[in-house]
């Protein structure tokens, strides 16, 4: 196996994880009186998540696509378990689940046209059709609306991240053929989205004073948002030459876009949770909550980053 820039990038991520874990370890030693259990749980979960993604990146493209399909499945299941549903719609929900393997099949077969319309056109028209077969009109609009929204968020949006893997990218600095550059773009997107979450949280904890949307998410502050955006943008410019075909300007725009969209995705899922009266979307990832709590930002950054790249570099 030859050492590609993407391997260096992955090694870098592990380096950050090790440093972060050492800091958390030092914190638990220096402040034994304070409760750090959530932070420790979070860090432990990061090890597991990064291990899964590293395996996916290194093993094969198909395996990576399957992993994203599983993430969509878990997120969609969490969503459907959380929202009000109707007894009469069991079959409809079953068909909605079936859209997941189909959508990711379009990804693996590199059929962009079908990938882009399958959920927003065909499933959008098919699900209300199946739903009306039960002839239960009470709550019909709410049921079909929430179902389609969940499918868009958990499956359609997230599948854009996976489609980066098969996107035929050209342009200066593209590395090791299309497959490697696709993986590089995916790594860039996922890493910066997750890094931005942590950066906004950290800046907010240290300097946060002015709340942005206190009614939706009381812990989000302008200091956290702008600090995170600055850090993410700088980091995007620094790592772009390693794994993407972007020049410095495009890398900066991509970084700022990921920071902004990530924030909006985060508070959007917060608004949904507040509406439903739940704190976490689930309990799948210790310290983080549910899987939707972890990928909320990605649901917004993935399609935007995908189209940014597709427009400029294909």
């Amino acid at each position: 196996m030859t050492l590609l820039p993407i391997h260096i990038a992955i090694a870098g991520i592990w380096g950050i994880l090790v440093i972060a874990s050492l800091i958390v370890f030092a914190l638990t030693r220096l402040q034994p009186a304070t409760d750090h259990s959530e932070l420790v749980q979070r860090t432990t979960s990061w090890w597991a998540m990064i291990a899964v993604f590293t395996a996916a990146f290194l093993l094969s493209r198909t395996f990576s696509i399957v992993i994203f399909a599983l993430v969509s499945f878990l997120a969609f299941k969490e969503y459907l378990s959380m929202i009000p549903t109707r007894r009469a719609d069991r079959r409809v929900l079953f068909f909605a689940y079936l859209a997941i393997p189909v959508q990711y099949y379009w990804v693996s077969s590199e059929w962009y046209g079908m990938f882009a319309v399958f959920i927003p056109v065909y499933m959008f028209l098919f699900l209300p059709f199946v739903m009306l077969l039960s002839q239960q009109t009470e709550g019909f609009l709410k049921a079909v609306g929430t179902l389609n929204w969940g499918l868009m968020l958990c499956v359609f949006s997230i599948s854009h991240a996976a489609f980066l893997l098969v996107l035929p990218v050209d342009g200066p600095g593209s590395v090791g053929g299309t497959a490697a550059s696709g993986a590089g773009l995916l790594l860039f997107l996922v890493f910066l989205t997750q890094f931005n979450d942590v950066a906004q949280y950290t800046w907010g904890k240290l300097f946060g004073r002015h709340k942005i949307v206190p009614q939706v998410s009381p812990k989000k502050t302008w200091e956290g948002f702008l600090g995170g955006m600055l850090t993410t943008t700088v980091l995007a410019v620094l790592v772009a030459p390693l794994v993407t075909p972007f020049d410095a300007l495009h890398a900066g725009i991509a970084g700022a876009m990921i920071a902004g969209a990530g924030f909006i995705g985060d508070v959007t899922v917060s608004a949904v949770k507040r509406d439903l009266g739940v704190k976490d979307t689930g309990a799948l990832i210790p310290g983080h909550g549910g899987i939707m709590d972890r990928i909320d930002s990605l649901t917004f950054t993935a399609p935007l980053f995908f189209h940014f790249t597709r427009y400029l570099y294909t």
Partner: protein
């Protein structure tokens, strides 16, 4: 041979239960590590027994005994073989007319062998995600075995995934609430009241998403 088949079956069950469904277990530490013990749960779905059996480690599989209605689970020869050898149920005769000796004799015997019983005191699965009155058989069982802990377990979501009368499994996360063991309070009535109160507490611990 049947032990190997049983093991294989429950490995597959665990894959379905933990991945296709997904359990969110509150207070897993209250589950018994060893028998004798009695787990009592609400009943919504055929999945209930399989999920209850997945709560304990695979190494405990041989001591888990679901208590089930003989008229339903022993109906055909194939079903009887599966129920007795794979699920390893303790069949209970529900019809009063035909029974002479203590219908719970097999349960007492199992508890004496330090096995863990799984009971659904509602009797039937009934309408999904709705609890019905608890049957008193469990009180007789507890009275005869006052030293055995009775652990109430409330499950939510399995009736949504696979309600009575349906064969289509639709994935939903399932919430499991394990309650503190109930010690024998001295009388059957007091026991039934305590059990009812415990289930009422466990079932209102979380606001579940409406399902109409």
């Amino acid at each position: 041979m049947t032990r190997a088949l049983q093991f294989l079956f429950f490995v597959l069950v665990r894959i379905v239960v933990l991945f296709v469904l997904g359990l969110n277990v509150r207070r897993r530490e209250l589950l018994p590590e060893d028998g004798p013990a009695i787990l009592v749960a609400n009943h919504n779905s055929h999945l209930d027994t399989l999920v209850m059996m997945s709560l304990l480690p695979l190494s405990k599989l041989s001591s888990l005994r679901p208590v089930a209605a003989a008229d339903y689970f022993l109906k055909t020869r194939a079903m009887a073989w599966f129920s007795l050898n794979i699920l390893r149920i303790i069949p209970i005769d529900r019809s009063r007319a035909t029974r002479r000796e203590d219908p719970l004799a097999a349960c007492h015997e199992a508890l004496n062998k330090r096995e863990i019983l799984i009971l659904f005191p509602e009797g039937s699965r009934g309408a999904p995600e709705e609890m019905t009155a608890l049957k008193k058989g469990i009180a007789h069982l507890a009275e005869k075995n006052p030293q055995v802990p009775v652990i109430p377990v409330f499950t939510h979501g399995l009736g949504k995934s696979l309600p009575k009368g349906s064969f289509l499994l639709v994935p939903f996360f399932c919430d499991i609430f394990v309650g503190a063991p109930i010690a024998w309070p001295g009388s059957r009535d007091a026991f039934m009241t305590t059990l009812g109160v415990r289930f009422a507490e466990l079932s209102t611990e979380k606001d579940f998403a409406p399902w109409e």
